[in-house]
């Protein structure tokens, strides 16, 4: 009886919470592992698509981790990538259909990038590195945590790009009209993909200034 109690750890134990919060800072998939950059460049010109993209990726990472973790003992190692892809593809199609049904205009903006969640390195990375070797609940938390870490960076980048590139946030005018009359102009460079890369670079720079342990020797 006592041994069984030891095995059952609480749902939100310290170790499990760490799975959720680690990716937000010290183990962030974008700024530390430098994964998933491609979509981070593509969808961050505006807040709204970035937000929807972040949500979609979080759902897919969370549930694909969960499903693969359930199946992990039954998957033959030689075909595991195929099995993983089938699960991820099924989830992505689900998300894509939901987006088309409920937020069609955003789905139009994201265009091919929803479908390309399948190739997002973060998802395959978490499946291979975590879900194949851990129980369903920690795997689920790990997936959600990484999705949130990805989404957080997406939103920060989109915040700066939309504010300075278009003067709006979530489509609402933030920069006052009077400023434009005084000669202010939106920064056209912010809307171009290179500035997404430079913004991410700056976030990495700031993060490493405060967490010096992240700096490679």
């Amino acid at each position: 009886m006592s041994t069984k109690n030891q095995e059952r750890e609480p749902i939100f134990s310290a170790a499990n919470l760490k799975l959720l919060t680690g990716p937000l800072n010290l183990n962030n998939p974008i700024t530390v592992q430098v994964l998933g950059i491609c979509s981070a460049l593509a969808v961050t010109a505006k807040m709204k698509p970035a937000f929807v993209m972040a949500l979609s990726v979080t759902v897919v990472t969370g549930f694909s981790n969960l499903v693969i973790s359930w199946l992990r003992n039954g998957i033959p190692p030689r075909i595991r990538i195929i099995v993983q892809l089938v699960v991820v593809a099924a989830l992505v199609i689900l998300v894509d259909q939901l987006l088309k049904a409920f937020v069609f205009d955003v789905s139009k903006q994201l265009s091919v990038f929803v479908g390309l969640i399948i190739t997002n390195c973060i998802i395959m990375g978490r499946l291979e590195a975590f879900a194949m070797a851990n129980k369903p609940w920690p795997s689920f938390l790990d997936g959600i945590g990484n999705g949130l870490g990805y989404g957080m960076i997406l939103l920060i980048v989109a915040f700066f790009r939309e504010l300075f590139g278009s003067g709006t946030l979530f489509g609402f005018q933030i920069v006052p009209e009077s400023l434009y009359h005084m000669g202010y102009q939106n920064n056209g460079m912010m809307i171009l993909p290179p500035m997404a890369l430079i913004t991410i670079g700056t976030i990495i720079w700031v993060q490493r200034t405060f967490k010096r342990s992240l700096i490679e020797k």
Binding site: G183, G188, L192
Partner: protein, 388 residues
């Protein structure tokens, strides 16, 4: 002079470790070495005795820029009054130009040097002289009416992301002045391109298109009706354009000074012109439209070609380092610049983009030149061994 020296020596301990202003150590050193030649001497390693240090080199480039700067200042006023159909005397033109260019220069130096000083303090390094030249180059390659805040944003971006992230003066991959121009060009295109911005406060009805702008939008089979300035006017710079770039003549005077003092490399300069000329000839042969039939040498006196060849391509940090590499590097710039000018419908001027592109390839060019040399010498060794 002596009193100043004594005063500085007395103040020095305050800026050293433990002093009142220890945090401002590099600021103090910067002003100290700016006023007096430092008497520190290199003690280790092989080195050449020479009076030229980095500050002196930078000063030479500034001297070389002065002819183009003065002419550009006068030309701002000249073009402005011309757009109203007036001809003013020398001084009204010059004073009007000063009113435009002095704020640009001040903003460029204050913002750029401000960021350089802050970084030097944080990193506990000496403040470098590199920005003295960059800070003067930037106002010369922008249109006279550029809003000052846009210039400030461009300069801040260039110093931060063109220079400091790479480690400061001497470590940068790209020419910081061109980064500033490229940033403003892409971020605020309405202040940096088109036919409205090249003359200060021009009359709305007056066409302010630069020769390159006219050439690019031309669809007729000949160039006769375009009303391009005469060759004489274009060579001496009586045309609208970026402040310091219009006068090929005064730029070449500055270039001559750089070559005589040995600050700029003649190989790079020559090969930029050679590359541009060759590309012009190729277009002459091709001749698909009127622009391509433009005499090849006329490319040199339009736009920023001469300025880019003399002051930008020869930047010792970002250009290729090997002798052969310099030829290849310059040739590449010349060809790309003309190629972008004539073929790309979005960019009337290609020199800026060509040099930035060549900056990326400079280390690669050097790598292959060195490799080729190693290969050649290895062959010689093998030959010598075999003969034994």
């Amino acid at each position: 002079m002596k009193a100043l020296r004594n005063y500085l020596d007395k103040q020095r301990p305050k800026f050293r470790e433990g002093g009142k202003f220890a945090k401002l150590e590099s600021t103090f050193d910067a002003f100290d070495t700016f006023l007096f030649v430092p008497n520190t001497v290199t003690k280790s390693g092989a080195h050449i005795r020479d009076a030229v240090d980095m500050k002196r080199t930078m000063m030479f480039v500034i001297f070389a820029l002065i002819p183009a700067l003065l002419f550009g200042t006068w030309n701002i006023g000249y073009e402005h009054y011309l757009s109203y159909g007036q001809t003013a005397g020398f001084w009204p033109n010059f004073v009007y130009g000063l009113g435009k260019i002095v704020p640009l220069i001040i903003v460029s130096y204050v913002v750029g040097l401000g960021i350089e000083f802050i970084f030097a303090q944080i990193r506990h390094e000496e403040v470098n002289e590199g920005y003295l030249v960059t800070g003067l180059l930037i106002p010369l390659i922008v249109p006279p009416d550029l809003p000052l805040w846009e210039l400030a944003v461009g300069v801040a971006f260039a110093v931060l992301f063109g220079k400091e992230v790479f480690g400061g003066t001497g470590m940068n991959v790209f020419n910081p002045a061109l980064i500033a121009r490229a940033f403003i060009f892409f971020a605020y295109p309405s202040s940096m391109s088109g036919s409205k911005v090249w003359i200060a406060d021009k009359l709305d009805s007056f066409s302010g298109a630069t020769p390159l702008g006219k050439l690019l939008t031309n669809t007729a089979p000949t160039l006769n009706h375009l009303g391009l300035p005469s060759v004489h006017d274009m060579f001496f710079g009586y045309m609208p354009g970026s402040i310091g770039e219009t006068s090929t003549f005064w730029i070449l005077i500055g270039g001559l000074f750089l070559l005589i003092t040995g600050v700029a490399n003649w190989r790079t300069m020559l090969s930029v012109f050679a590359g541009g000329y060759l590309m012009g000839l190729i277009f002459n042969l091709w001749g698909a439209n009127a622009y391509m039939s433009l005499p090849a040498w006329q490319h040199f006196i339009m736009g920023g070609f001469a300025f880019g060849a003399v002051f930008m391509a020869t930047d010792p940090v970002t250009s290729a380092q090997t002798k052969k590499g310099k030829y290849i590097y310059g040739f590449f710039i010349g060809m790309m610049a003309i190629l972008i000018r004539v073929i790309n419908p979005a960019y009337p001027e290609g020199v800026m983009l060509a040099i930035l592109l060549a900056n990326v390839f400079a280390p690669l060019i050097d790598y292959f030149v060195v490799k080729a040399n190693v290969k050649k010498r290895l062959k010689r060794v093998e030959l010598a061994v075999n003969q034994k």
